[in-house]
């Protein structure tokens, strides 16, 4: 900005010098024009600076962790007067973890022409990622003055967890899952026990694909195995985020998501349960299909994690004091939980069975 003023002042000084030697009216015209141009520029700018259209486009709604996510920042100056530059503060924030990164993007303006800046990023953690532009800073066509005004443009994208392989020897997870024949059904050897047919969703086992039906439809069709359950099963998660170790909660979510999918594949009906520190309630969602799992995890991403360990566990115990249910509790490594540790993932995540 200072450099631009210097340029302009030198330009004016040169003209003034010319005028000293040559006080003809044409020099008045030129000096007048030289003085008028920035004034006009500033006035036009003051009138037009809010007429900039700014939007975030092409952002997908969902994506996996570490996948390339591409979106565009579109600018459209609807006036015929150009701005010197458009300076955008772009903020990419994972609402779940509350971590963020800020970028400043200077875009040259072309009046009455759309300009799209492409951005590509990947999210390291699952959660709800918000991309927003709080404010935009514009300069007039000579870049002599600038104005900042809020725009509050934001878009969100849900970043889904990775599915990890749950390998547990315990039979606790199959408790109350029926007789021996069920195992055969799970293996998909007998279609007569299939409770329903639905469209394929990512994460479905290939063994569950109903190939004959799939050939009739355009999409893959998979078999839903339904099994009666004997008691209430809550699959709960400890949403405790240690800001210095974001990885830990991310792993917990991965396991939680995988565990839910495993249970669905086993044909179990259960409840996904998490404690939202923001609302102070345990949020619960009945799960019958894998779509339910995806929806539940999506909802969970809008919750706020706790800053203290075992907050969720205590809240669940408080809300459900009677012991007429089975609780599968997914948490980061921590003590103070009375239950059977049925699975440990990566030395960071423990799964407890509490009956």
């Amino acid at each position: 900005m200072i450099g631009n003023w210097m340029n302009y002042i030198l330009f004016l000084a040169a003209l003034a010098l010319a005028y000293v030697f040559y006080n003809n009216y044409i020099m008045f015209v030129i000096i007048g024009a030289a003085i008028a141009v920035p004034i006009v520029s500033i006035i036009v700018f003051e009138i037009t600076y809010k007429k900039l259209q700014l939007s975030i486009v092409d952002l997908p709604l969902k994506a996996g962790k570490n996948a390339d996510i591409q979106f565009g920042i579109m600018t459209l100056n609807r006036t015929i007067f150009p701005f010197g530059s458009i300076r955008i503060k772009l903020n990419i924030k994972n609402l779940f973890y509350n971590n963020q990164k800020e970028y400043i993007i200077n875009i040259p303006d072309i009046p009455r022409k759309e300009r799209k800046i492409q951005w590509k990023f990947s999210a390291v953690y699952s959660g709800c990622v918000r991309i927003n532009i709080d404010e935009v800073e514009l300069t007039d066509m000579l870049s002599l003055v600038k104005r900042t005004y809020p725009v509050n443009i934001e878009k969100t994208i849900e970043i889904y967890p990775d599915e990890c392989e749950i390998d547990t020897e315990t039979d606790a997870l199959t408790a109350g899952a029926g007789d021996e024949t069920e195992v055969q059904y799970i293996k998909g050897t007998d279609v007569s026990e299939v409770s329903g047919i639905r469209e394929y969703i990512p994460g479905d086992s290939m063994q569950a694909v109903h190939w004959k039906l799939s050939s009739r439809y355009d999409n893959f069709m998979v078999k839903d195995f339904s099994m009666p359950y004997t008691d209430r099963v809550y699959l709960a998660i400890e949403l405790y985020n240690n800001p210095s170790v974001n990885d830990e909660m991310d792993n917990v979510i991965d396991v939680y998501y995988s565990m839910a999918r495993l249970l669905v594949k086993q044909g179990r009906q259960f409840f996904m349960l998490w404690y939202n520190i923001k609302t102070g309630v345990n949020e619960i969602m009945e799960i019958q299909t894998e779509e339910d799992v995806v929806q539940a995890v999506g909802n969970m991403m809008y919750s706020y994690p706790s800053e203290h360990p075992l907050t969720a566990f205590e809240a669940i115990k408080t809300e459900y004091p009677e012991n007429d249910y089975t609780l599968i509790y997914v948490t980061g490594s921590m003590t103070g939980i009375n239950g059977e540790k049925i699975y440990t993932y990566n030395d960071k995540v423990d799964v407890y069975l509490i009956e």
Binding site: N7, A18, F21, K101, E102, N106, P108, I117, W119, A123
Partner: protein, 823 residues
Amino acid sequence: MKDLFGIKRKRLEKEKKESRSTGVYVSDVPGAGKRDKKINGILLNGLLNAVIVITTVMSVLESFKIGYYRGIMCFFIVALSIFAASFYINTIFKITGYVCVIAGFVYGITEYTAVLRGGFGTIANKFMEVIEVVLDLPIERRYAEYTPNRELAVTLCAVFLGGAFALLFNIVITETKGFIIVLFFTFPFVQLGIYFNRNINIYVFILYMAALTALMILRTGHYKNETRKKSGYNVKRKKNTYEYDYISNNGNGLARTLRIIFVFVIVAIIISIIYPKGRFDINNSGDGMKENTKEFAKKVSLVGFWGMLNPNGSGNGGIGRSKLGQADRVRLDYQKDLDVITAVFPEEKNIYLRAYTGTTYEDNNWKYISESKPANYKPLEEYGLTSNDVASLNGDILKNDTNHLLVNKEKMIYVYNTFANNLFRYIPENVKDGNQYYNTVVNDDEFVGKLDYGYGIKCWYYNLRNDLTLEDMKTYAEQLKNDNSSEKIYDIEEKYREYVYNTYLEVPAENKKVIDDILNENGISEDDSLDNVYKIIYLFDNQYEYTLMPGKTPNGKDFVNYFLKESKKGYCSYFASSAVLMFRELGIPARYTGGYMVSTTDSDYMSEDMYSREMDESVVAGMKKGEYTVYDIEVNDSDAHAWTEVYIDNLGWIPVDVTPPSDDEDTSDDSQGIGVLLNNLFNSNTVESVKNTAINMAVMVIVLGAISVVAGAAAILIIKYRRKRCLDIDKNYRYMVRIAKVGGLKWNNRIVLERLGEELTEYDICNQEDTEKLLTIIEKAKYSNTGVSEDEMKNVNIIINKIADNIYGNLSFWKKIRYSYLF
């Protein structure tokens, strides 16, 4: 390469940590929109360059009405500008392009030297014609214009000059859209016509302004550095924020530039309709500033570069004795040569300070008797005289003039040599007491005494009445003699008179005929009267022109004859030389005199001498302090003068100024007098002059050199002081890389840190502990998003200073001296 200090691992961890902490990883940022076409950049830069250069060249040529082929010039400059802009396609193009163009220039200059010189000569001559008139410069500088087609030569010259500009601006415009450099280089040329009251072409001027405005607007936008980034943006990291600065699209820049030019052209058309003549009329306001700058420009052109540098004047100011007619003009420095302190009275004559006299006119030069003896010359001794006898003849006679028949005032004068030629003394006429000049006079016409810079002489002299004619003086002198006939001085005068009549009436044969013709033509013939002196003065006043730029006397021609018969214009030396020979031809003993004529009426150069530094006693005979005013008179080159002295019987040599009056004060006589030191050095005719000039130059070079050394040393000390305390890690890092290169390590700013660490320890430049600490902090500064603390910055500075000391200690002696500024 092994992972020394775990640098690689640490870096990966840092990167991982950064993305882990922010949850966002930007792997790649694609460019903005569709790819910019290089052709747009070439057209934009070429167009801007061409318009600016063409309008600049045209402004000059058309203002000064220099004929040229506009179309040809425009075509070539446009072609060259676009060609030059295309160099920036890639590095190979850039190198080969510039090599080709420079080779083309060299070829053109060598192949078409004569045409180019002719073109340049034509442009320069037109320019000189104008500035000589506008600035009232006493010069006539003309260059050879020999060329079969003047317009073509000028066009070629303009293409070469414009091409050189285009090449220079191509770098500036293409790389940075550098508005200020272009403005500074072109605006003075565009202004030249306006400054010298020429008409300028409205369309050219408007186009120039349009291109300049476009450049300024592009400069303020995002157009700079576009050739350097293929990605279309620059990335800067500021703490935890990345800034992506996108570069403007050249197609857009081209469109914008064309729109600006279009608008300006429309304005130009409108103005030309309102103003139907289509050209600007100059309304010369006579503005004070304009006049002042013109005066300044005049001085610069007269004094030259060296004269401007020299605060006391340029060289051995004012007076010289070399061959006459060798300089085409008088050179003035307008600087003080002498300080003359004396009492001044309104009725007195100007003070003539004599530096030397010329007795024999030979080979266009006035010579002392010791250098060339007149035909009838007999030494003073043969007349029973010594040099001391005649050293102050006038004064010894006039001391008896108690009735003020001839004398106006008897005064003291103090002459201080500020920067006048130190080969002479500067002695007033009619010095009262000749004792101080005894033994400094050779024959009667040559003072061997000198007045060096910074010294002054003080003497009493008789200031003559200014209301007397030469005849009156002759009469009063005779009367004075009658009143004081017993005085011994009159015996001396009689003997000396005989000597004078034998010595100072010689006219060279080659001049005799010319002089006789002129005297006859004007009806002036020899008689006993001194009135003939006034007839000659009248003749000069009416038939000859006073000018400070008479041009050189052609080789082989006699200076006086050429002046009297052919050129009929000149300055004081011309008139004085001719008058002396004419007086002699008319039987009046005369001699040529050079020195300073001190005006006692030009108040511009007079100031009351407040300090009376040399005048604490009474300086006017018969008057008390307070009854007169003592002035400090500034004498400069424009007061340098040549005049004649005629001998008046019973009195002695009396100054007679024969130069016609002029607005311009008369000045020195030739090329040796004033002017450019270098010019003096190469043109001087005397060994002393060359020596003096060389000494002056040497002193100047030494002084400038000393100033440069002191300034450089001060700058280095400041830089070293600041660097030793610099906390900026990046600067410290770059400094370390630089000094390591001096120490023999092949590093650069992109060196990987592990190699840097390895070599620091391997060569014992830094110990392991410090190296680890240093690299950790540098890594942190480079890759961490948390930043480094002030203590860490100080640590880096301390360690790097240690490294610097270590490297410096191991340097060879010469390298220590050569790179002492770095350590």
